[in-house]
């Protein structure tokens, strides 16, 4: 590993532009100075850590600490300070739900701060490792080796037992990217979804890294199959999204409906031979833009419509 490149990446992270080649475009350049890490108890052994970048899911118990996603390297001390309010045990596992920097950027830094002599296992789908280890494109920086997954999987699922419960990692192919995972804590009854589900914004479909709208829909339907609500569609399985507030099945259903309906509308326009500009002019997302896209001309709306159009074969 080129240490100069690694240092460059770390430095870039310190000024808020870490690993631009893997940055989720919705979540660039947070002001790290003002970020506070908030802990929200979810259920059983699972907590949600809200800071910058993606949400971090935290599971603590007698075996140690498990983190799903690590936000940015700069935030590692704050993340670990929050973790230490719940557990003095070492970090044993890190699971990355996708390759983007706001989910993986803190891997190495947290491993260093939380491992206490033992290197945590960093689990991710093998597509995440492949993309992290590929030579960077011109003008982009390499991902530090310390952030790489060291326990990649290439099967549909990977499971293990930790802190008294089964932890099941499901690969969700060709969704937000080609290397997405969701993590199901079976006894606690909590699912951590990564960026397949972001209840306050349109999903980012990173087509350059293998994402697709159909993959997003398939993954959301899979999450709905796994979740079981308690009485009257409330409670039961809790869902920690990649970004945004804590949710349950009903919230995932709303989101699935939105993506499905917009897919159908754009598919219909493509069948009628509409160009991308004509599709945009038809405003197929008008009823969802204020809620998820920052308005009709918001960057989320523009990007989402184009991604769905391209993903469905529009030229």
């Amino acid at each position: 590993m080129n240490r100069v490149l690694a240092l460059a990446a770390l430095t870039a992270g310190l000024i808020g532009a870490q690993e631009p080649n893997f940055q989720n475009p919705n979540f660039q350049n947070p002001n790290f100075q003002n970020i506070e890490e908030h802990i929200l108890p979810v259920q059983g052994s699972v907590y949600m850590l809200v800071g910058a970048g993606g949400n971090t899911t935290l599971q603590v118990g007698k075996d140690g600490v498990l983190l799903v996603d690590t936000q940015f390297a700069t935030l590692a001390p704050k993340i670990m300070a929050a973790v230490r309010t719940l557990s003095a045990m070492p970090v044993r596992y890190i699971i990355n739900t996708n390759v983007h920097g706001e989910h993986t950027g803190g891997n190495g830094a947290i491993a260093k701060l939380g491992g206490e002599g033992a290197i945590p296992r960093i689990i991710a789908n093998d597509h995440v490792l492949n993309r992290m280890t590929a030579p960077p494109a011109a003008g982009q920086v390499a991902v530090p080796e310390s952030d790489w997954p060291n326990d990649e999987y290439f099967t549909p699922t990977k499971d293990f037992f930790f802190n008294g419960e089964a932890v099941v990692v499901y690969h969700m192919p060709a969704a937000h990217t080609d290397g997405d995972s969701i993590v199901f804590f079976r006894r606690s009854d909590v699912i951590s979804t990564g960026d397949i589900f972001t209840p306050e914004t349109y999903p980012v479909i990173d087509m350059t890294r293998g994402g697709s709208v159909q993959g997003i829909i398939d993954a959301l339907n899979r999450i709905i199959e796994l979740t079981v609500p308690a009485k009257y569609q409330e409670g039961g399985t809790y869902v920690i999204p990649g970004h945004g507030r804590l949710c349950e099945e009903a919230d995932v259903v709303e989101y699935r409906d939105m993506v499905t309906i917009i897919r159908d509308r754009i598919q219909d326009l493509i069948r009628k031979g509409k160009t991308l500009d004509e599709v945009r002019a038809a405003r197929p997302t008008l009823d969802y833009d204020t809620q998820y896209g920052g308005g009709a001309t918001g960057p989320g709306t523009e990007r989402f419509v184009e991604a769905v159009y391209r993903s469905l074969g529009g030229k």
Binding site: L40, Y232, L246, V253, I261, D264, D268, D287
Partner: protein, 307 residues
């Protein structure tokens, strides 16, 4: 055993304490009891349910209108996750609203902690905190009933509710977002309870939506168990979401046609709420004979003749 020596000063203080202890914990109205809903307001909308395409009296924006236009009620029958989905807190009192209200006190201080409510529809239970606690952070879970806190304004109880799940303003697909805030004003006049609701929704409303509902005190009321279990009975592919593509919903003009109303007027919007709007539309020509929801005063006596 030591004899307790009574002192006159202690006796006076004790008596004063008893006097304060028997005074009302607060001077405001007590809403405790069993309340039976009155449906004289918006009866057809609330009991048999609203007509498709009826957006009258709703200050909605284009986003809400398009969302409602694409709504297909098959979603309730075909998608299991919708079968037992309850009304949101802002709508639940307009439905099967047999209501029970009780109070919770701190046993040590006898201060009011909360009002609790139980509604027939979906056995919905709600807590309205009166102890000044803050609302949860934005990243906390949202629920059907939301998170409610109340304050007294004279004899009126004003309640603020946040953290509501996405739901509907009207049961024909007109949406209400999870970013909305609900303000309620509870007023009691003898045996009658009036609740005025104000919904602010930055996503779907251009101005607050104000509605009211009424109940009468009915101490003998019994509230049964609602009960609901979702049961997939319609074979369908995974992920089916019934909806109408833009411009294809054939039911949107029925309401205006049946009731002789201008089509623009039934599409809702803030402008249509005000008297000045009458000058913009042609005179109302009601049907020669009422054939639909003519006698609607309770759930079971609505005239729902087919056309």
């Amino acid at each position: 055993m030591a004899r307790v020596k009574r002192h006159p000063v202690i006796c006076v203080l004790f008596s004063m304490g008893m006097a304060f202890a028997t005074a009302p914990a607060f001077a405001q109205v007590d809403f405790t009891g069993e309340w039976n809903p009155l449906y004289h307001e918006d009866g057809p909308e609330r009991l048999p349910g609203p007509e498709l395409g009826d957006y009258t009296e709703l200050p909605i924006n284009n986003a809400a209108r398009m969302r409602a236009d694409s709504y297909d009620a098959d979603r309730i029958s075909v998608v299991p996750e919708y079968q037992c989905r309850p009304h949101g807190v802002d709508y639940s009192m307009r439905g099967l609203g047999n209501l029970r209200i009780w109070r919770e006190f701190d046993t040590a201080t006898q201060k009011l902690i909360a009002f609790h409510t139980h509604l027939l529809a979906w056995d919905s239970e709600r807590t309205i905190y009166m102890d000044g606690r803050p609302h949860p952070p934005a990243y906390a879970d949202h629920t059907w009933q939301g998170f409610s806190t109340g304050v007294w304004e004279g004899n009126m109880l004003t309640i603020t509710t946040t953290h509501m799940k996405t739901n509907y303003l009207r049961r024909n697909g007109v949406p209400r977002s999870d970013k909305a805030t609900l303000t309620e004003h509870w007023m009691r006049h003898g045996d009658y309870l009036t609740v005025v609701t104000v919904i602010d929704d930055p996503v779907f409303l251009t101005e607050p939506l104000v509605r009211s509902d009424n109940w009468f005190l009915d101490p003998g009321q019994g509230i049964g168990v609602f009960g609901c279990e979702s049961e997939p009975e319609v074979p369908r592919p995974t992920g089916t979401v019934p909806h109408h593509l833009p411009g294809t919903n054939p039911f949107l003009t029925e309401f205006a046609r049946w009731y002789g109303l201008p089509e623009d007027a039934v599409r809702g919007g803030a402008e249509t709420l005000y008297p000045e709007y009458k000058s913009k539309i042609k005179p109302y020509n009601p049907p020669a004979k009422c054939e639909r929801y003519c006698t609607c005063t309770t759930l079971f006596n609505c005239n729902v003749s087919s056309r």
